[in-house]
Every structure is written in C-alpha cells, then in structure tokens.
C-alpha cells in the first residue's frame, strides 16, 4: 500500500515533466523566435541602429513601394511553376516505381533520393556549370544539331532559376506521391479490372483520385522550399532573375535593416502558411482509410 503510494506521484511527476518538455520545446524553439520576428517587423532603423518603437512603416513600405509587390508576385508565379513542373516530372517516376516488384522498388527509390545527401551549394555550382554557355547542356544541344550555336537562354535569368529549383526539389515531390500511390490497395485495382475497366479508366477513376493527397503535399513541399530559397536565385539568377528571397537576404547583410527584413519575412510566412494549409486540406479530404 505504502509502496504504491510512493511510486505513483513519482510516475505522475515524470509524465508531467515529459508533457511540459513536449510543449516547452516547440514553444521555446519555434513560437518564441517567430514572435520575436513578428515584433521586430514593427521596429525601424535609423543611422544603422534599430529604433524600438512600434510602427506600421515597414508594412506600408512593402505595399506602397513599387519595387516589392511585383517581385513578390513574380516569385510566387515562379515557385508555382516549379511546383507544377516538379509534379509533372515526379508523378510518372513515382508511378513507375510502384509498378516495380519487391527489392527493386526501394533500391530505385533510394537512388532517386541520393541527391539529397549532397551539399546544396555544390549541387547549384554543378548545375550552373551544366547550364553555362560552355556547359554540358549547350554542348549536347549543339552536337545533336538542335541548336546552331550555344545559347544564353539557360543561365543567369528566370529560366535558370526554374530549371535549377526543379532539379533540386524533384526528390521532395517523388516521395509523397510514391507513398500515396503505394498505399492504394491492390484489391481496388483488381476489382476495377474485373468489372471490365480499361487500364486508362482504372488510372483516371481510381489511382489518380486516390493519389491526389500525395500530389497536394508534394506541391506544397516544393512550393514552400522554392519560395524560401535565396541561394539558387542569387547564384543562377543573374540580372533578370531577381526574386523576393534575394531582396529579403539583402536586408540582413549590407543594409542592416533587420526590421524591414522581418516585415518581408512575415509577408513570406503568410504565403508559406497558406500553401501548407492548402496542401494539408487536400491531403486530408481525399485520404484513404484502408
């Protein structure tokens, strides 16, 4: 009796501690920093020092200055395009993977994910030299007779950012689509076949709808990663590929305008959160529960 009395509170204390920790970690490492960021966005800078009095000046500037909104909008369009291209390329790849049997399936999946083990910067460097005027892509196209002479279309412009981000982010699209395709019960496909549906009909009416949650989360993954990236545009964007990430980055380096940078980040965060919510909504609605 007395033994049980003494162990119970100890157990309870431990579980309380675990609960507190479980809540404290995200609060301390995610919510508090975000709140500080939000707070900073209402400050301003004068002569290189931060003025700690609240104002909406940064947001007013974001919406009224002719520089920011067009770049913001172009960046969103760019990242949506990246997401769409990634999906279009990743879907067939993921579908092909699910048709493979046993060990091959996972071996190939692993191979597709290998690029994620490499340093991001090194990959950008490599892609940039492939896209360059004397790069592999131009040499190949000229050798194949598709181009008369090397073209500058592939590097230091928006096309380059689109191409590079797509290449870098494809693994993030393949994985969720593959998982959702794999979770489709084989019995449904067989039933469809038994009932006389063609392969195309089965795909359009069963496989595709059931894999849409994977597509939605893949799209939101890719979009969020693309829109937060400043390094790729900086390195391959050249003079015409100016994106929101680059403006944001410049506020923290040479400009030393943290408050305005924070306000721009808040604008970015709103779009990112919206993208995640949309992705999650679609992901849940059509989810399968078998």
């Amino acid at each position: 009796m007395s033994k049980a009395d003494s162990t119970l509170p100890a157990e309870r204390r431990l579980s309380l501690l675990v609960t507190v920790l479980a809540f404290a970690l995200p609060v301390v490492f995610v919510l508090v920093p975000l709140a500080i960021f939000l707070g900073y966005s209402f400050f301003s800078v004068d002569q290189g020092t931060i003025v700690y009095s609240l104002s909406l000046g940064n947001y007013v500037r974001f919406f009224t200055d002719p520089v920011f909104l067009p770049v913001f909008w172009n960046t969103i369009v760019l990242c949506v395009s990246v997401a769409i291209i990634c999906i279009l390329l990743a879907y067939p790849a993921a579908y092909f993977l699910t048709t493979l049997k046993g060990r091959w399936r996972y071996a190939l999946l692993m191979l597709l994910l290998v690029p994620l083990l490499m340093s991001y910067v090194i990959k950008i460097y490599a892609i940039r030299s492939i896209l360059g005027l004397n790069g592999f892509l131009n040499k190949a196209l000229v050798t194949l007779g598709i181009l008369q002479e090397p073209s500058t279309l592939f590097v230091f412009n928006m096309n380059a950012i689109l191409l590079t981000l797509t290449l870098l982010l494809i693994p993030f699209a393949i994985l969720p689509i593959f998982l959702s395709l794999e979770r489709i019960p084989q019995v449904l496909l067989r039933a469809s076949d038994d009932l006389g549906a063609s392969g195309l009909q089965t795909f359009l009416r069963i496989t595709l709808p059931l894999s849409l949650p994977g597509v939605a989360s893949a799209a939101s993954f890719v979009f969020v990663l693309a829109i937060g990236d400043f390094l790729t545009p900086q390195m391959v964007g050249g003079i015409s590929g100016f994106t929101f990430g680059r403006i944001l980055y410049s506020q923290f380096g040479t400009a030393y305008n943290w408050p305005f940078g924070a306000a721009l980040s808040v604008a970015l965060a709103v779009v990112v959160i919206a993208a995640i919510l949309i992705g999650e909504r679609f992901g849940r609605n059509r989810g399968i529960s078998v």
Binding site: V45, G48, V67, P70, V71, Y125, R128, S129, G132, L133, N134, G135, T152, V155, F156, Q234, M235, G237, G238, I239, S240, F242, R246, I247, S250, T254, A255, Y256, N257
Partner: protein, 341 residues
C-alpha cells in the same frame, strides 16, 4: 599541519610564477593585426633586432577590431592595424594616439604616393598623423586580353554594348555606387547628393543590362568565367583574383581605370593605451622595411607601401575607400536597380 604548510608554500610559489609571467608579458609589445600582417618570422626578427618581445593577436573582421579596442578603451593593445574607412571612427572615439612621423626612418623611403600623409585621405586629422599606411589593394578591372581590344583604360568599357552579356559585376550597392560616381566624374564618390544618386542609379540600370551576372566571391567569378563567355570582370578582389585566374590559364590582365580606382588601405596605428610608445614606433618602422613589405606582397598578393607591386603602377590614380553617406539608402537603391526590369 605539515601538509598545510606545504600547500601554502606551493601557493606562494604559484603566485610568484604568475606575477613573474605577467611582468614578462607587461614588457611585451601587444599587437592586434590581420592574419598575414605579423608573421612569426618577422616577429622573431623584430625581437632579435630590438630586444622587444611581441604578443600578436589575430582578428577576422573590422567589427572584431572595434570590439576589442573599444571594449578595453585601447588599454589591451599597443599597436593595431585598421583601414582608412574605419580609422576616423577610432580618432573620434579618442582610442588612438597621434604618431610622430619623424621617428619612423623608413617612412621617408616609402612609395611616392604614401610619402605625404596629408594627401592620403583618412589617416590624418587636424594636421596630426594617426595611421601609417602599410598594405593596400585596388579594385580595378580584369579583362580578357583575347576578347577586349584595345586594352581598356576606363571603367566605362563595362557599359560598351560590344561586351553585352560578357561583363561580370560585383553584387554590392555601396561599391557600385562609388565606382559609377567616379566613372561619371564626381569628385567625392562617398558623399553623393540626391541628384547625383539618381544619375548613378540610372547609370547602374544601364550597366545591369550589359552584365551577365553579379558575383559575390572570387571563387564564384572564376567558375562563371570558366563556363561562360566573359570578357570583363569588375575585380573586387583585385590582385588575388587576377592571379587565381592566370593560374588556371586564363588570358587576363588587370588595369586601374584612369578616372581612379577604389582601393582599400590598411594602416598601423598606436592605441591610446600604449605602454611604451617608443617600442610601438619601432614596430611600425620595422614593418615599413623593404624586406617585410616585399615578403608581405609575395605571401598575400596585396600591395605594400614600400616596393612597387601589381596592385598599382606609380601613376595610377587610387581613391581610398571611405564611409559612404548612407549605406542603407545605397543598399535600397541597389535593390531597386536589380528589380528594374
């Protein structure tokens, strides 16, 4: 009891040694410098020649120097190295002592452009000398000798439509506004009025249309050069950059533009808290010797103030970097330039 006595004795000896070493350190000259400015062999030679011991602390950024000097109000170091753009800040905060140039025999032998220190902007104030120039490099123009003919003499070549899409520029608003102001013929590129700012901005938008890309590191510029058709590079990293390119077999040459090249200049200064002024003067004088100057350039690739180097010919016009009127404004306007379609 015996044990306690032994402990006390040990403690006394320990204290004694501690005092002795701190006394020995107290006699040493305390130097704060960038890596490459106080190499071990020079320090050894200096001690051998003068009998003065030296403790060197290396720093990695301008902010770090400021933090160390300001943090101790100059009491922790005797001599340190700082660039012209930064020096005025130290003078204003009363952290540095004026230097008696007559005590520096080697200063009479320096290159002509450094002989009259009143002509070197930023190292004097109210007729007193606070900094002795030691190491510099210019921000000139690298051009491909096969593609750019005749050899350029002005930065205006960057705007030449013949090189459209073959120009590499540097991604930094402050410097770009300064050099463009020089190209437009403005006297003080670091203090531009509204009208001049607008003219420079318009000129930079034009530049942007002629440019292939903006780079940030020397390495990056080199990689772009290798994979693309590049004819001209605005060389933020000066001699180091041109030498690295020549090493990979690129046919490039370097030129300081006739309208004047921006250039950074590091100086030796004596802190307010200097303990032995004569020792500090000896250090600076030693650093101005032909041997140290030559070895400095050989090892780092930067120009020195006593022997001729590739950083600048004798007649090249150099404009020492200074603080700009409003860094934030320049950065904002640079973003506007980049965002202009």
């Amino acid at each position: 009891m015996g044990l306690k006595k032994a402990f006390l004795k040990l403690a006394t000896i320990g204290l004694g040694i501690g005092l002795m070493t701190s006394a020995a350190l107290a006699a040493n000259l305390r130097v704060l410098a960038w890596d490459g400015y106080a190499d071990a062999d020079w320090v050894k030679d200096f001690t051998a020649a003068t009998g003065i011991g030296v403790d060197v602390v290396f720093i990695g950024s301008d902010d770090e120097i400021w933090a160390k000097i300001k943090g101790s109000e100059g009491q922790d170091f005797d001599v340190f190295a700082v660039n012209t753009a930064q020096l005025q800040r130290y003078i204003k905060a009363d952290l540095v002592s004026p230097i008696d140039v007559t005590k520096l025999a080697n200063q009479k032998e320096v290159l002509p452009r450094f002989r009259d220190l009143t002509a070197v902007s930023g190292v004097t104030k109210d007729g007193k000398v606070y900094g002795i120039p030691f190491c510099f490099d210019s921000i000139g123009l690298i051009y491909d000798t096969d593609k750019v003919k005749p050899a350029p003499t002005s930065m205006s070549v960057l705007w030449d439509p013949a090189y459209k899409g073959k120009v590499l520029a540097y991604d930094n608003g402050e410097h770009n506004f300064s050099f463009t102001a020089l190209t437009l013929g403005y006297k003080d590129p670091f203090n531009l009025n509204e009208e001049q700012m607008a003219a420079v901005k318009a000129k930079l938008v034009e530049l942007k249309r002629n440019v292939l890309s903006f780079y940030t590191t020397a390495d990056e510029a080199q990689q772009i050069y290798q994979n693309n058709d590049v004819a001209l590079i605005w060389a933020n990293y000066g001699q180091q950059q041109v030498k690295a390119l020549q090493k990979i077999g690129a046919h490039v040459a370097y030129v300081n533009p006739s309208e004047g090249a921006l250039a950074w200049l590091d100086n030796w200064v004596i802190s307010k808290g200097v303990r032995d002024n004569a020792a500090a003067e000896k250090w600076i004088d030693f650093m101005l010797s032909k041997k140290v100057g030559g070895e400095l350039s050989e090892r780092t690739g930067f120009g020195n103030t006593v022997t001729e180097t590739g950083s600048a010919g004798g007649n090249d016009k150099l404009v020492w970097l200074n603080n700009v009127e409003d860094p934030l404004k320049r950065s904002d306007m640079w973003n506007e330039v980049k965002a202009t379609p």
